[in-house]
Each structure stands twice: as C-alpha cells, then as structure tokens.
C-alpha cells in the first residue's frame, strides 16, 4: 500500500514539474465545452442533449492519451525495467498510476462540471452524479491507456492508438445515432464497448427521466470495465523481456 501511494505521489510530482500539461488537463475540457456551447448557440436543445455527454467524453480521451504516453515513456526510458527489479509489485505500480491520474481527473471534472452547470447553465438533474460519472470515465480512459501502452513500442504508436480505441467507441456509443437504430451487428458491438454505458448514464442524467436503478447499473459496468483494464494492464507488464 505504501509503495502504491509512493508511486502515485511520484507520478503527481512528475506532473507538477510540467505546468503546461497540468493546465491542459485542468482547463482543456472546460474550454472545449465552452466552444461547444456557442457553436450550438442557435439550438440550445442540442447542447442540453449532448453537453452532459461531453463532460464524460473529454476526460476519457485526454486521460487515455496522457496515460498511454506516460507509460510508454516509462517503458522506453528503462525506468520500468528498473522498477521491476525492486520489491515493487506490478499491481502496486498500476494502482499508483490509477490513483494519481484519478486524482487529476477529479480536479478536471470538478472544474468542467462546475463551469457547465453554473456558467453554461447545462440542465442536469444531479450535479454530484455528473462529477462521479466524469471521474469514472476518466479512470476508464486511464485504465485503457495503461493497458494499450503494452502494445505500443514508441510514443508515436501510443498516440495513434487514440483514434483506434476511442473513435469507434464514439461512433457506436449512441451519441451520434441511437444505438437501437444501428444494424444489429453494430448494436451488438456497441453492447460490449464501455463508452456506450457512459453515454446511457449521461443521457439519463440529462433528461432526468430514469430510475436510479439503471444509472447504478451503468456505473457498475463502467467501474467493472476499468477494473478489468487495470488488471489487464498489470498482467501485460512483463518482468522478463527478450
């Protein structure tokens, strides 16, 4: 546990020496949301429908990118090889990363949710649930980023995993077209993609027309997927390489 916390602290210290990245993590989603709001100035209904989704999708994408690049850097710089020769366990390393970026995501979500709800007057039924969902999405992005970094040999490749992993999920998650209207194959595929559940949950919040039961179920799926990806990430850390 102390090694997990030490790792989380170390990752946050690294971030703190890079103020530009901190600024990007904290304010970028808010800026994009602001842009989105005024692009749809003429049709506020669109912003009310899609706005809550953006609160989840931006942190998901940003955290995926940040973590996969950070982890590839750890692999290529030789520090990962060194860490794996110390008493640090693989799960402790991954948990440390999850904790550090989860904390960054919390700050990010607080800023973007506060701006969306109080300044842009986004109509959501319960603000705190928005923050919880946004953080869960960010942790999901972190977990997938950690796992996918195992398949990237360079930072160049890691960046290109973003469109590979994120864009199909964006197209299929029900944001652009309702999932029920898709060909059956695509609907089935969307059923197993985690972002679909994030979209469902945020839609429920926006309309306020749902029972808390289905919201809790969606949240459960997201947490489960994040946990699976974190376990996957720990398993892909190879102590011995060729």
């Amino acid at each position: 546990m102390s090694r997990t916390l030490a790792t989380a602290k170390r990752v946050l210290q690294q971030l703190s020496h890079d103020p530009r990245s901190v600024a990007l993590i904290v304010v970028l989603p808010s800026l994009l949301l602001l842009l989105f709001r005024y692009v749809y100035d003429g049709s506020p209904a669109v912003f009310d429908r899609v706005g809550p989704q953006m609160l989840g999708i931006f942190p998901f994408i940003i955290m995926f990118l940040v973590t996969s690049v950070t982890m590839v850097r750890e692999r290529t710089s030789g520090t990962l090889e060194r860490l794996l020769t110390t008493p640090l366990r693989r799960g402790e390393l991954i948990a440390g990363y999850g904790l550090a970026f989860g904390a960054a995501a919390l700050l990010q979500s607080l800023v973007s949710s506060a701006m969306a709800i109080w300044w842009l007057e986004l109509d959501v039924s319960s603000p705190w649930v928005v923050v919880i969902l946004a953080v869960t999405d960010a942790v999901l992005g972190t977990a997938l980023g950690l796992m996918m970094s195992a398949f990237a040999a360079t930072e160049f490749q890691a960046v290109q995993f973003m469109p590979l992993v994120v864009i199909p999920q964006l197209l299929l998650c029900g944001l652009l077209a309702p999932r029920a209207s898709m060909p059956e194959v695509l609907e089935r595929v969307s059923d197993v993609l985690p972002l679909s559940y994030a979209t469902d949950a945020f839609s429920d919040l926006g309309t306020g027309a749902t029972s808390t039961g289905s919201l809790a179920a969606d949240l459960g799926v997201l947490v489960g997927c994040s946990a699976m990806a974190l376990v996957g990430a720990a398993l892909t850390l190879r102590r011995r390489t060729s």
């Binding site: 690294q14 060194r82 020769t85 008493p87 102590r239």
Partner: protein, 225 residues
C-alpha cells in the same frame, strides 16, 4: 536470446561474496545481456541463473539486488532528491539513507535540480545513488563509470571497494581495460563467451603482459587461433 538472436553461449561462472568482479569486453559482446539475465529482466533460452541461491528475479532476490542500467534509469522530470525518495520508499529505506546516498555520489549541491538539467555523468550518479538506498547485498552495475572524468571514476571505484569491504558483492561491467586492475577478479568476454576468469595478476602472468589491455588482446588472439 535477445530479439531472437543468440547472444550468450557456454557462460558459466560464479561471483563470490564480498568481491568486486569485473565483467570486461568490447561493446556488443553480451555484457549487458548477461547482467540483465542475472537481474531477472532477460528471458533466457536455456540455463540456470541463481542469485544468493535463489532463482534470478524472484521476489526475495529483488529485495537484495541493486541494479544500475547502462542508460541512467531515473526520472528526468523529477529532482535528484525526489527520485531518491521514490526509490527509497520502494525498498523501505528512510530519509537518512537518501541523504547518505547523496553524499556518497557527491551530488548534495545538486539535490534540488531536475535530473533533465544534469550532465550525463551526474545522471549516472543519480542512478547509482538510487541503487545504494536499499543497502542491497549484491550490486549489478552495467558500465557505471562511462563518461565520467578520472577523478569521479576514482572516487566511485573507492566507493565500490568500501562496499566490498563491508561484505557486499559487486559485479561491474566496463569496456575500459584499465578498470580491470581495480577488480578482485576479472571475467573477460568476447562474442558472448567468457574467455578468461582470473585475478588481474594471473592474467598478467599468464600472458606475460603488464598492461591488461595487451593481455586481453593476447587472450582474444589465442581464442581466435
């Protein structure tokens, strides 16, 4: 095996406790691969590597081995002290150990500098200091003195000698032959094989050469012939 290419063959040796054993040979001869195999980071095709009687890389050997890679594997975007604090917390060392290690490698004045702002030689010393923290029984040092000026090199070899006197075991690689003279025993490597395993004096006697660089050349030619 490294990337499907056979790097080491017929390598058999042991490193006695409390000695400095030098692993010397030209670059590309397999020194780093051998050290990675001992630390447990290298997938090996065949053979048995044991550290303190346990399989290489097992949980209990990881506690007693200090590994310094050839490239300084510390975090460039942390300060020297932050790096050392992190590695100390992984091996259960305290803040006192961190300050002690700073002094051992002579980096006290740069403790709060970011590692990315340091010179190559200074980074190597940060990396070495990180290995000192857990007070390991065995040190595996891959070319720790490359790119250091003569004064620093001498100081580090004094540090290695002190560690060995305290009963620590040190395997240190180098491609600079004059460093062989500072070791208790020398393993000469060439093209993935160990061509000699002897004390520096034995090497000189066997080859009739005073200079260890010359001695290596004589031995390499004998093997080739």
């Amino acid at each position: 095996m490294r990337s499907g290419r056979s790097v080491l063959s017929d390598v058999t040796f042991s490193v006695p406790t409390g000695q400095i054993v030098g692993l010397l040979g030209p670059s590309g001869c397999g020194k780093s691969t051998l050290i990675r195999a001992i630390v447990g980071a290298q997938r090996i095709g065949a053979g048995d590597v044991r550290v303190l009687g346990e399989p290489a890389g097992s949980a209990c050997t990881r506690r007693s081995v200090g590994y310094v890679t050839q490239a300084s594997s510390v975090y460039p975007d942390l300060t020297v002290r932050q790096n050392l604090h992190y590695f100390a917390s992984l091996s259960g060392a305290d803040d006192e150990a961190t300050e002690g290690a700073l002094d051992e490698v002579g980096l006290r004045t740069r403790a709060d500098a970011l590692v990315r702002d340091l010179s190559g030689g200074q980074r190597t010393r940060v990396s070495l200091a990180a290995a000192l923290l857990g007070d390991p029984d065995v040190y595996l040092l891959d070319e720790p003195t490359v790119g250091l000026d003569p004064v620093l090199r001498r100081d580090l070899w004094k540090l290695f000698a002190r560690l060995a006197d305290d009963g620590r075991t040190i395997l240190v690689s180098s491609h600079v032959m004059d460093e062989a003279g500072r070791c208790d025993r020398v393993l000469l490597m060439r093209e993935g094989r160990i061509i000699a395993d002897a004390t520096p004096d034995e090497l000189r006697r066997r080859t009739g050469q005073d200079d260890l660089e010359q001695a290596f050349l004589v031995l390499a030619e004998e093997v080739a012939a």
